[in-house]
């Protein structure tokens, strides 16, 4: 990426859920990072660490508890006119994990895909509307005969393509893909990932790609952020992260990925992470600090000094 233009700026974003009896879940707890135009930022971390909540808050499905999200400089959560809100909604789209649950079973594929076109008045005539639907079907590798069928007539991979066509229908700039391939077969996963990459090249799309399959994330992402308990603990270029993980949680995570090679598996040494291993002192402040250019780690001042000498 030659010119790095920020499309999304996330500043100290917090999302707390009040779950009654004074209990608060800090699902997202102070995230600060940018997403550049045209890149894919992968987001990984264990179940419940706040990946989906991060995506949903960025796109404005939840109101942030604290902090802000700027899209092209515009604050997503600030009060806006209905028109501004509609434009914003159009530019940011989400693809969901479950291709079965996320498509309305009683709507035809054409109506599912065209829903956004209708809401945003993107087609002037019925013909134009259908034309767009046919184009979109072809873009995602389906064909126009599929337009009048219902979701249950499709395989998982095909349904996920319909979900992608629906997201593309309103010509977004930014797509949040929340585990878009987890429910699919290995061979079909590759189809969907190839399609997403192709669309990115052709349309200059920006992706936030949430997943727990770390080999697929590495393949598709330019940069990767690792989350742990609502916080981002490490952020770096994809290759750099896998080659030189710094935070002990990242190391543990990477050491647990099973690889399709029996010999490596027979000799696998798994690293176990324990939060207490940091031995942080009372009141020691943790910050997201840059260890090497573009490689950030959540750490204390003391750890920062240590990492600096170890990794530079």
């Amino acid at each position: 990426m030659a010119e790095k233009q920020k499309l999304i700026e996330i500043k100290n974003l917090k999302q707390y859920f009040n779950v009654g009896k004074g209990n608060v879940i800090k699902a997202v707890d102070g995230l600060t990072f940018d997403i550049y135009k045209g890149e894919t930022l992968g987001l990984v971390g264990e179940s419940g660490c706040g990946k989906s909540t991060t995506g949903r808050t960025i796109i404005g499905l939840y109101k942030a508890t604290e902090g802000e999200v700027l899209f092209n400089g515009v604050n997503v959560h600030a009060k806006k006119s209905a028109k501004e809100l509609k434009t914003l909604k159009r530019k940011m789209q989400m693809i969901f994990q479950d291709p079965y649950a996320s498509l309305n079973p009683r709507m035809t594929v054409a109506d599912i895909i065209a829903e956004g076109i209708d809401i945003h008045g993107l087609a002037k005539t019925r013909e134009e509307r259908m034309q767009r639907v046919y184009e979109l079907l072809e873009t995602v590798g389906l064909n126009r005969e599929h337009a009048n069928r219902y979701p249950h007539e499709f395989s998982g991979g095909q349904r996920q393509r319909i979900g992608i066509a629906r997201a593309l229908a309103v010509e977004p700039e930014f797509i949040i893909a929340d585990e878009p391939i987890s429910a699919l077969d290995v061979s079909i996963q590759a189809q969907v990932v190839n399609l997403m990459k192709k669309l990115q090249r052709e349309k200059g799309l920006t992706y936030l790609f949430i997943a727990h399959d770390l080999s697929m994330v590495k393949y598709i992402s330019d940069r990767i952020g690792v989350m742990y308990f609502g916080k981002m603990v490490e952020l770096a270029d994809a290759d750099e992260l896998y080659r030189n993980p710094i935070h002990p949680y990242t190391k543990a995570l990477l050491s647990a990925i099973p690889l399709p090679d029996p010999e490596t598996e027979r000799t696998r040494q798994r690293i176990v992470y324990d939060r207490s291993q940091h031995n942080y002192k009372e009141g020691e402040e943790l910050q997201f600090r840059e260890i090497t250019p573009g490689h950030f780690v959540l750490c204390s001042e003391a750890e920062y000094e240590k990492y600096k000498t170890m990794y530079t």
């Binding site: 179940s47 699919l184 077969d185 590759a190 543990a252 647990a256 099973p258 690889l259 399709p260 598996e265």
Partner: protein
């Protein structure tokens, strides 16, 4: 090596509105004592139906075992009555399902669910069963088992529920454990813990395991042998090294090539297998994989390939192994894996029907 299970020419179908779904179309394999066999393959290829048939858990109707034998411990499970099967299930054969919430009883404390098995199958007293339940929870890595034993499934996190289900399945010391995608919904760290746990328990108890998964990394980690299924049949079977370092079937090649590799920086397209799997109400003539197979020859569309034997342990059903077939190059990603295995025969030989 002693055989614990032998499945012979199993055929299972379902009657549906759209016709007869031929879910399993002549599957044969065996499992030795203390061994782990992984079954991989396309969604809908019959992995779950095969394993549910061994447990005799397919609903009949619409399901039907059309032919075949399931010899377990010298007896044919196909011939057992439902009552006899109930004795075998839970006692001799344990099963772990993909979604723990469907098999744990949400209204019953986790500890009680384990105790039930112990009291019923091991004839333990209530207090002995409780003690053993706590021990089992500790064994599967649940912290503070004395406390957890009295909790309900919804009070457990996803990974803990999965482990609790494993504890239930292990309670009866089964000779055979069938695990159908037991870790697919879990994070890699918890997945790794559970795989380590299963291997550890296997070492201690000598249990045989059938492990169904679509994650080839997991297969490489747990399996002694691997069966690859496509459209209701086993298309390739071999030791884990044979499948990963010397695969012969083009579907296996496709599976291996469609995975990104962690160490490659290359940004070439993943080699997706084009198209989608066949309709099993009307399975295609010839090799069912032919329409999606870039290596398909004319004969693939007309005649089903026989099983070829590549070594004592390695089988593949593809015409590419026929002596008259042209030599083809597997995809790049597969070529990088290939190794010369000394156990291979000089030339593949056709397996006779009776074997």
């Amino acid at each position: 090596m002693e055989k614990l299970l032998e499945v012979k020419n199993l055929e299972v179908s379902f009657q549906t509105y759209g016709g007869e779904v031929q879910a399993v179309r002549g599957v044969s394999f065996h499992l030795n004592k203390g061994e782990t066999l992984a079954i991989v393959g396309e969604s809908g290829s019959g992995k779950s139906v095969t394993s549910q048939t061994i447990m005799r858990l397919i609903p009949t109707p619409p399901g039907k075992i059309k032919s075949g034998q399931i010899i377990f411990n010298g007896e044919d499970l196909v011939k057992k009555t439902d009552k006899e099967m109930e004795q075998i299930r839970g006692k001799e054969i344990g099963m772990i399902f993909q979604d723990p919430m469907t098999s744990l009883n949400p209204t019953m404390k986790v500890g009680h669910q384990i105790m039930e098995v112990l009291i019923k199958h091991q004839k333990m007293s209530k207090s002995a069963a409780k003690e053993r339940a706590i021990e089992l929870l500790r064994l599967v890595g649940i912290p503070m088992p004395e406390k957890r034993v009295n909790q309900y499934p919804h009070e457990f996190s996803g990974g803990m529920r999965q482990r609790a289900m494993i504890a239930v399945a292990l309670a009866s010391n089964p000779k055979l454990l069938i695990a159908d995608e037991p870790t697919t919904a879990l994070d890699v760290t918890i997945q790794a813990q559970i795989l380590e746990l299963m291997k550890d328990l296997q070492k201690k108890t000598g249990t045989s395991i059938i492990f169904i998964t679509h994650d080839l990394g997991v297969v490489a980690n747990v399996a002694d042998r691997v069966a690859v299924m496509y459209a209701g049949k086993i298309v390739e079977m071999g030791t884990v090294d044979e499948i990963f370092y010397d695969p012969r079937h083009p579907y296996t090649w496709g599976l291996l090539a469609s995975m990104p590799s962690l160490d490659s920086d290359d940004q070439t397209e993943l080699a997706a297998i084009p198209g989608s799997p066949p309709d099993l109400t009307n399975p295609p003539k010839g090799d069912a994989f032919a329409p999606r197979n870039p290596y398909a020859m004319k004969i693939d569309f007309e005649m089903e390939p026989p099983m070829f034997k590549v070594s004592d342990t390695h089988y593949a059903a593809t015409w590419l192994l026929h002596p008259d077939a042209p030599k083809v190059e597997p995809p790049e990603a597969v070529k990088k894996r290939l190794r010369k295995l000394s156990s291979n025969y000089e030339k593949p030989v056709v397996v006779k029907e009776s074997e």
